[in-house]
Symmetry: C2
Subunit: 193 residues, 2 copies
DNA sequence: GTCTTTTCTTAATCTAAATCAATGGATTCG
DNA sequence: CGAATCCATTGATTTAGATTAAGAAAAGAC
């Protein structure tokens, strides 16, 4: 159950087998069925989630009832509502499973105890956040300065697995465009080739 | 020169006077004149910047020559191109001073030495990144699900100082809209009151 | 203080993408 | 298995905001 987690941690810092064993108890394994909610708007997000298998997404629903996908997360990725998790305020996001998934949960108290017990993990988490920051900033940049078509092409080249794994209307929601527009863009692109 | 920095650090963690003294040497003070570049696209971003006084912005210029402001930063804020800073790859951002400013520079080697010498700073930096993550995520959400008017109103309520301190065309660039559109929105809002 | 540059406003036109609507495929479910 | 829901495509229409253009106001330079 911890294979992917340790593999991912190992890409950034190295943990001794003892350190690996000592962090295991802080995580709670859980399975989610496709479409099952992990978090609903209004609840406090009590955990950060590491995905061992499957895929989740976070999204909001606006006044007009439209879904807006904020994040996709695949095997080896983390997902949560950072704001709610760190402040204990109710979340305005929903998180659910796009596929049957196996996940590892880490609560805020366990998170704090874990970094105290294995200080190297503080470094790992800092690196994780660094990378998220970089990714989010580049997403903001593309939302500001790229055309809709360019945004799609950028997503396609950066995360081809996301494009191919999920239905198109979810991709459209992530890009912030109507599904019809995405369909037209794809048509246009295939003709170009 | 370090007043604001220590005040800000003190909001998150507490440093003893000795610890304060021991981190000072890692920072290089610098002054910037209004309009002076701190970073130009193509250069590697060698430092993260803490602003003691004044204001900076980061932005890109697209193919059509349009500027897109990615971040404003005021006294007590940090600014840099995280991607370029951590990877040493050339940046695609520009950073310049919107006002005469006094800043503190921290290089990557100094950054690493500092957290080794004062491990508490690792925690401070993690908290900083947490907060940046939260802010960026909420910005993405508003770019996806809010109308242009709502985005402006949200910025106005979250960072009124930014709205009032900088010319409107810069605010428009940050919001990703044309200056004319912002002017119309403001007109509409004043009539509503 | 005037001159120049920058900033803001307003109006007219244009355009990309949303919306509305209908159809045919594809999946899911009882 | 067939019914039902979900999904992708295409076309017609509408709309928000970009673009273009011009003038007014404000700020900065000399």
């Amino acid at each position: 159950m911890f294979e992917i987690l340790f593999q991912k941690i190992d890409e950034k810092i190295s943990l001794s087998p003892e350190e690996q064993e000592s962090i295991k108890p802080f995580f709670t394994p859980k399975k989610l069925r496709k479409k099952q909610y992990f978090l609903q708007a209004g609840e406090v997000c009590k955990y950060v989630v590491f995905i061992e298998k499957g895929a989740l997404r976070s999204y909001t629903i606006d006044d007009k009832g439209h879904e807006h996908i904020v994040q996709f997360a695949l095997e080896g990725w983390w997902i949560s509502d950072n704001y709610s998790f760190f402040t204990s305020e109710p979340s305005s996001y929903m998180i659910d499973a796009l596929e049957d998934s196996e996940i590892l949960l880490l609560s805020l108290p366990d998170y704090e105890s874990m970094v105290l017990k294995v200080p190297k993990m503080e470094r790992y988490l800092r690196i994780l956040m660094q990378n998220s920051l970089i990714a989010l900033q580049s997403r903001i940049l593309s939302s500001l300065s790229y055309s809709t078509e360019e945004k799609y092409l950028k997503l396609l080249s950066t995360y081809p697995d996301i494009i191919h794994r999920f239905p198109q209307h979810l991709i459209a929601s992530y890009l912030g465009i109507a599904p019809e527009t995405l369909s037209r863009i794809r048509k246009k692109i295939t003709f170009k080739k």
